[in-house]
């Protein structure tokens, strides 16, 4: 088995920052990522190996930040072992990682392990959400930015959060007819709590930039409105949205229908906690930070010694926070490994903590705006599919709950909720909330579904192969990323 001092899972903003901090401290961290290149979802690059030249920068500020981070990463890349196109399919005894390689897998034992897996989009069920043509804003962005395909001709972007503006602007620049942005939070509420803090960080400029871009393009922002349903024959063709109150409960008499060919819908992000759960970390519920997140201390260490967490996977707070958290974790691990002494640790840590405190103030305001509200849970009809994989309807789940299954695990066993290939990633966050609301339990009393390996698709044949011990240390991919 390979042994490593420090393994970082995820090469997004958090993972990259941690790797930089550790490499600068003289260590040689190992970074594992499932994609061909570093950057994660937010700083995703167009594939460089496929004769595509650099992408036109659709979203300047974010792209610049990504380029800056990548430059710093590349500067120390000779002290980073980067394993791209690899996925961790299991964690055993908290620090032994089962890592895929093409048609085989191997074990890596990590003395220190940083989990920086990021987040995925939250889309609670509503009538028509399974229709082809309904997709997440992130999917639309990947399609536009890395696949060079327009997600549609007449596209409505809906949900909540600043990411909607980013995606709408990118789609517009790529030539899509963006019909509008439907934002559940009302302008009044946004003005009340948001703008001052935006301004505080200069982020007003960034957010305002997107808004101005959309306004110049004549793209309407439908604020204080929520998607109540999508319909179409085989594909989405119509979307209905309605004005909603502060709980996001739609006012049925104030709705409108528009014709679309594509609906991008997402209500923020859900932290990916599979790895933390496999490592045995204790989780806690945070509605503001996207759901269940690993419980961490001030140095980003989880409840399992030697296992650390940073970035959106440890609580959704965006790329800026992720970078600072990654740096913090990297410094803490470097100190634990004896690469830096306490004075050096404190000196490097202080400015990070200061920046983080400022960022978190801003995020707190944003999070309170974007928090998921009860109206979203009331969109389903009895027949709405709530578990996309197993095709379970709201009624079937409610019958399961009413039969006494008042925790997710029992509900899963009783109804097959979350037993499909996505293993509950899509349905569990919304159904956990639904379960709590229906039974009157508090979310912090609930427990997430257990995570079972393998957490990535792996064939039986792959798993049957004897564990391979060797792994090329310097990946070709690394060279290509840097080039």
């Amino acid at each position: 088995m390979m042994r490593r001092d420090a393994v970082i899972i995820g090469a997004g903003p958090a993972g990259m920052s941690a790797a930089i901090a550790m490499a600068e401290a003289g260590l040689k961290p190992t970074v594992i990522d499932e994609n061909a290149q570093t950057g994660g979802q937010i700083y995703r690059q167009r594939p460089s190996t496929r004769n595509h030249r650099a992408a036109p920068s659709h979203n300047g500020v974010v792209a610049d930040r990504g380029a800056d981070l990548r430059r710093r990463f590349d500067a120390v890349s000779d002290r980073i072992e980067l394993l791209c196109n690899r996925q961790v399919w299991g964690i055993f005894e908290s620090n032994r990682l089962a890592v895929t390689a093409p048609h085989r897998w191997q074990m890596i034992e990590a003395e220190h392990l940083l989990l920086a897996p990021g987040a995925y989009e939250y889309v609670p069920p509503f009538p028509g959400w399974t229709l082809p043509g309904v997709l997440t804003p992130g999917a639309a962005q990947i399609m536009t930015k890395t696949q060079a395909v327009l997600p549609g001709q007449r596209v409505l972007v809906a949900g909540t959060g600043p990411f909607l503006l980013v995606v709408a602007a990118a789609l517009h620049e790529a030539g899509v007819n963006v019909l509008g942005v439907v934002e559940a939070v009302s302008r009044a509420e946004l003005l009340r709590c948001g703008w001052r803090l935006f301004a505080d960080l200069g982020l007003l400029r960034e957010g305002g930039g997107y808004l101005r871009k959309l306004r110049r393009a004549g793209i309407p922002i439908y604020d204080g409105r929520i998607i109540v349903g999508a319909s179409g024959d085989g594909e989405v063709s119509h979307v209905k949205f309605a004005a909603c109150d502060r709980s996001w409960r739609p006012k049925k008499n104030r709705s409108q229908v528009i014709e679309v060919d594509t609906l991008c819908v997402g209500y923020g992000f859900v932290p990916r906690t599979e790895l933390a759960q496999l490592a045995g970390c204790q989780l806690r519920w945070s509605n503001e930070l996207g759901g269940w997140i690993p419980l961490i201390d001030a140095g980003q260490q989880t409840t399992v010694r030697g296992v650390w967490a940073a970035g959106d996977g440890a609580g959704v707070a965006g790329a800026l926070v992720a970078q600072e958290e990654g740096t913090l974790a990297g410094l803490a691990m470097a100190r634990q490994l004896g690469a830096i002494d306490d004075d050096c640790f404190e000196a490097r840590r202080r400015p990070v903590v200061r920046r983080l405190a400022r960022l978190r103030r801003f995020r707190a305001a944003l999070d309170s705006l974007s928090r998921i509200r009860v109206g979203l849970d009331e969109l389903c009809t009895d027949e709405t599919i709530v578990c996309r994989c197993e095709e379970l309807t709201q009624t079937e789940i409610d019958k399961g709950i009413d039969a006494g299954n008042n925790d997710l695990r029992s509900l899963k066993v009783a109804t097959r909720l979350g037993m499909g290939p996505c293993q509950g990633r899509m349905c569990a966050p919304a159904m956990a909330r639904h379960l709590a609301w229906r039974t009157g339990q508090a979310m912090d009393q609930s427990t997430p579904l257990q995570v079972r390996p393998p957490i990535v698709p792996l064939t039986l044949g792959d798993l049957a192969e004897p564990v391979s011990m060797d792994l090329p240390v310097q990946e070709q991919m690394l060279r290509e990323t840097i080039a």
Binding site: H52, T130, L135, M143, A148, V149, A174, E235, P457
Partner: protein, 102 residues
């Protein structure tokens, strides 16, 4: 609906895949889902229970809704697998069928 950025497409190699027997052109490096979307094909499978059409949803390998039958193997995530010359891609009906690649 491929974006006509000349800087993207001019130098990329073209690949021919077969979708339910019909040839579809794609660019090397594209995922199967993107190639199909680009060709106007957004229904990637039909579900087992209600036989409903499904397409790309999360786009990043999390939701498993874009499952297709590719080179004789069902349940392949079309958003994660890249096109290859002469790839046999089929709309998956329910759990799909095995070993029918041409």
């Amino acid at each position: 609906m491929t974006i006509n950025h000349s800087e993207i497409t001019s130098s990329a190699r073209r690949v021919l895949i077969h979708v339910d027997g019909k040839p579809i052109e794609a660019w090397e490096g594209q995922t199967v889902a993107a190639a199909l979307w680009s060709a106007g094909r957004r229904q990637l499978r039909r579900t087992s229970r209600f036989e409903q059409p499904r397409g790309l949803f999360c786009g990043m390998g999390v939701c498993f809704d874009c499952l297709m039958q590719i080179n004789g193997r069902p349940n392949v995530q079309a958003c994660r697998i890249e096109v290859e010359d002469a790839m046999d891609v089929r709309t998956q009906q329910g759990p799909g069928t095995w070993g029918e690649a041409s």
